[in-house]
């Protein structure tokens, strides 16, 4: 059973890095450069199990994307993990209150991302059990 991840970040370098880490963990991945592109992917019918979400992006930022996903009951099983350099205490609170499930602060290591996904029970090897 494949576990799907949508990597959302306006930086191509960061998308490459995160996609690489998730690919190594066994995810099937797609990418989007901002919140609106990501919503388009969801509307297409490609339902991810996980979205990694940068905060600051053009057109639609990560927080707006989180609000949009959580407002749609069809997408209630999608796990939302912020991956961002935004790390003010109040911002982490805001993201979690908006419905993000976890928060990874940049800079992060592959192990740190893996740890957070393990906390959510989202690692492909676990999902397969």
């Amino acid at each position: 059973m494949t576990v799907r991840a949508l990597v959302i970040d306006d930086s191509r370098a960061m998308r490459r890095i995160v996609t690489g880490i998730l690919g190594d963990l066994g995810y099937e991945t797609r990418q989007a450069g901002h919140g609106q592109e990501a919503l388009d992917v969801l509307h297409e019918g490609w339902a991810p199990d996980l979205c990694t979400i940068d905060w600051n992006m053009p057109v639609m930022d990560g927080l707006q994307f989180v609000h949009a996903v959580r407002a749609n009951p069809d997408w209630r099983t999608v796990s939302l993990v912020m991956v961002t350099s935004e790390s003010e205490h109040g911002q982490i609170v805001r993201a979690l209150a908006a419905g993000a499930h976890e928060y990874v602060i940049k800079p992060f290591t592959a192990d740190a991302l893996r740890d957070k996904l393990a906390l959510l029970g989202l690692l492909p090897e676990e999902v397969a059990l």
Partner: protein, 174 residues
């Protein structure tokens, strides 16, 4: 009472934001930059605090911070260094040929990472702008800048946390 002119409301002199040097020190900026390098560039990377002139063909990436303190966080290094940095950042995912676009994007993301963490040390809440990259970074307030100069793999790299220049102090970004 504020006086409205053609360019919009202005702040009074008494509303000038605090000096950056009272809000953050070079050791903290160094620590933030090191953590970024260790996690994203390589766990055995070393940033040696050592001032050295940045080459003439330097490239800069910066992010604006708008809040109780206004200014930018600017990363500057030589173009060759920026290429090497991009390769190191992308690791096994680096394309064979690096376009300028790839280098701008990588340097911009590093500015975003360092800038976001610097912002979290400063009084908030603040807004972080999207990264910009170019040959000419925005001017800063020379006397109100926190500057860290390091050598990465022997090449100079500068991180500046700079307040808006004196002439722009009285403007309030809308």
């Amino acid at each position: 009472m504020t006086h409205v002119t053609g360019t919009g409301p202005r702040r009074r002199a008494s509303d000038r934001s605090p000096s950056i040097t009272t809000l953050i020190d070079t050791a903290t900026v160094q620590e933030i930059t090191e953590q970024a390098w260790l996690a994203l560039v390589g766990e055995d990377e070393v940033l040696v605090p050592l001032p050295a002139p940045v080459p003439a063909d330097a490239l800069s990436a910066w992010v604006e911070i708008l809040g109780p303190w206004n200014g930018s966080v600017v990363l500057t290094c030589g173009r060759d260094t920026a290429h090497e940095l991009t390769r190191a950042l992308l690791g096994e995912h680096a394309p064979e040929v690096l376009e300028d676009e790839d280098v701008d994007d990588a340097l911009g993301e590093l500015a975003n990472v360092v800038g976001g963490n610097v912002k979290a040390v400063l009084p908030g809440p603040s807004v972080l702008g999207l990264p910009e990259v170019g040959v000419t970074p925005p001017p800063g307030h020379e006397a109100d800048t926190c500057r860290v100069d390091v050598l990465w793999r022997g090449s100079p790299l500068t991180v500046r946390v700079q307040s808006v220049p004196a002439e722009r102090e009285n403007e309030v970004p809308l």
